[in-house]
């Protein structure tokens, strides 16, 4: 078995717009984060998220995305930014309190001190055919990079609107190992 659970965080009260995963062990090759969640953003049924690493909120990040709404698709970017952006990634309770969003984040070679940390995020939320603030759902696929070669030891996920994470949100972090055999 090469994929191991590192931590599971369950939100039980709506009191913070950020989730911190600290003290990540350095014993794996790759990390995978799986988030099933909801924020309490008002007006819109979808919330934008951000992510940063090692508690570093300085201008050390870039991100690029493909965002599909069901009615169209577009691409955008940010750079020299304070975090990696994840537009349209999460459901909010404004649409339906039973609808949660889902995304998966992969961070490769997170302990390699020769590499900046390149991240992939994929996920979104469908609102069941009901518009909330003119939005029916989003599918988001995005890249991000933390321009720092330090080992990743913490991950912070936040609501870009400052909305609070809702009870029922579950954040699971996994570590993935590799083989020593080369097959060359």
């Amino acid at each position: 078995m090469s994929m191991y659970p590192i931590s599971k965080t369950v939100i039980t009260s709506s009191s913070s717009s950020v989730i911190n995963l600290n003290s990540i062990p350095s014993t794996f090759a790759h990390l995978q984060l799986r988030v099933f969640g909801q924020t309490n953003r008002s007006t819109y049924g979808i919330d934008d998220l951000y992510i940063y690493l090692n508690n570093d909120g300085t201008a050390s990040y870039s991100s690029h995305y493909i965002l599909g709404s069901g009615g169209g698709v577009n691409s955008g970017s940010s750079y020299n930014a304070n975090y990696i952006t994840m537009p349209g990634m999460m459901a909010s309770s404004t649409s339906n309190s039973l609808i949660f969003g889902l995304f998966i984040t992969d961070i490769l070679d997170y302990t390699n001190t020769n590499k900046n940390k390149t991240i992939k995020n994929m996920g979104g939320a469908d609102l069941g055919g009901t518009s909330a603030g003119g939005i029916y759902g989003y599918l988001d696929y995005d890249s991000g990079c933390y321009y720092n070669t330090n080992v990743v030891n913490s991950i912070t996920i936040g609501s870009a609107s400052g909305s609070y994470w809702q009870p029922g949100t579950v954040v699971c972090l996994y570590g993935i190992q590799t083989s020593n055999a080369t097959g060359a």
């Binding site: 870039s62 690029h64 691409s75 750079y79 590499k115 390149t118 990079c145 070669t149 060359a184």
Partner: protein
């Protein structure tokens, strides 16, 4: 007990780079195969199209094809290749991209021992601290009924850069 994700091989590129990485003698005991690619090209450009080939097929074949959606940071574009000799793993940073920045790509190869054609799904991206950087989603096909016993990844421009890592996993269903 069945093992969901089993590490098979890993190769890390040393100083001087490598023109390609090949995994040979792939065990035939899994249902699917899975690659994780953290790589960079030493060649010019902000992004490189790495090439994926199976069972030692060379540039003379025309049995590969793929259907692609990619984003550049300003637009999202559909694309397609057919009758090609490779499936592309695109978006790998080149030497013009921000230094020390590598790709984050996954290649899922379904039913690699079956006697059907081989379907592949790839998500591949790099990064660059600028407006433009590329991310791809790719459905690729190898029109061959052979079981896959070796996988080769070839640099798109010049060479696979030092510290690049490609890991192969086997996936068992049920």
């Amino acid at each position: 007990m069945s093992v969901f994700l089993q590490p098979i091989y890993t190769q890390t590129v040393g100083s001087g780079g490598a023109s390609s990485i090949t995994f040979n003698n792939i065990p035939q005991t899994f249902t699917d195969l899975f690659l994780k690619v953290s790589a960079r090209d030493t060649g010019a450009g902000t992004q490189s199209d790495f090439q994926l080939r199976f069972n030692g097929t060379g540039s003379g074949v025309t049995t590969y094809s793929d259907t692609v959606l990619y984003g550049s940071g300003s637009s999202a574009v559909p694309s397609r290749h057919s009758g090609t000799s490779v499936i592309y793993i695109s978006g790998v940073p080149g030497s013009s991209a921000t230094a020390n920045t590598f790709s984050n790509a996954e290649v899922y190869i379904s039913n690699y021992t079956s006697s059907n054609y081989k379907q592949v799904v790839i998500d591949s991206l790099g990064e660059n601290n600028a407006t433009t950087s590329f991310l791809f989603i790719d459905a690729g096909l190898w029109r061959d009924t052979s079981s896959i016993s070796s996988i080769t990844v070839v640099a798109g421009v010049t060479a696979i850069a030092q510290y690049s890592t490609i890991s192969l996993y086997g996936i068992t269903k049920g």
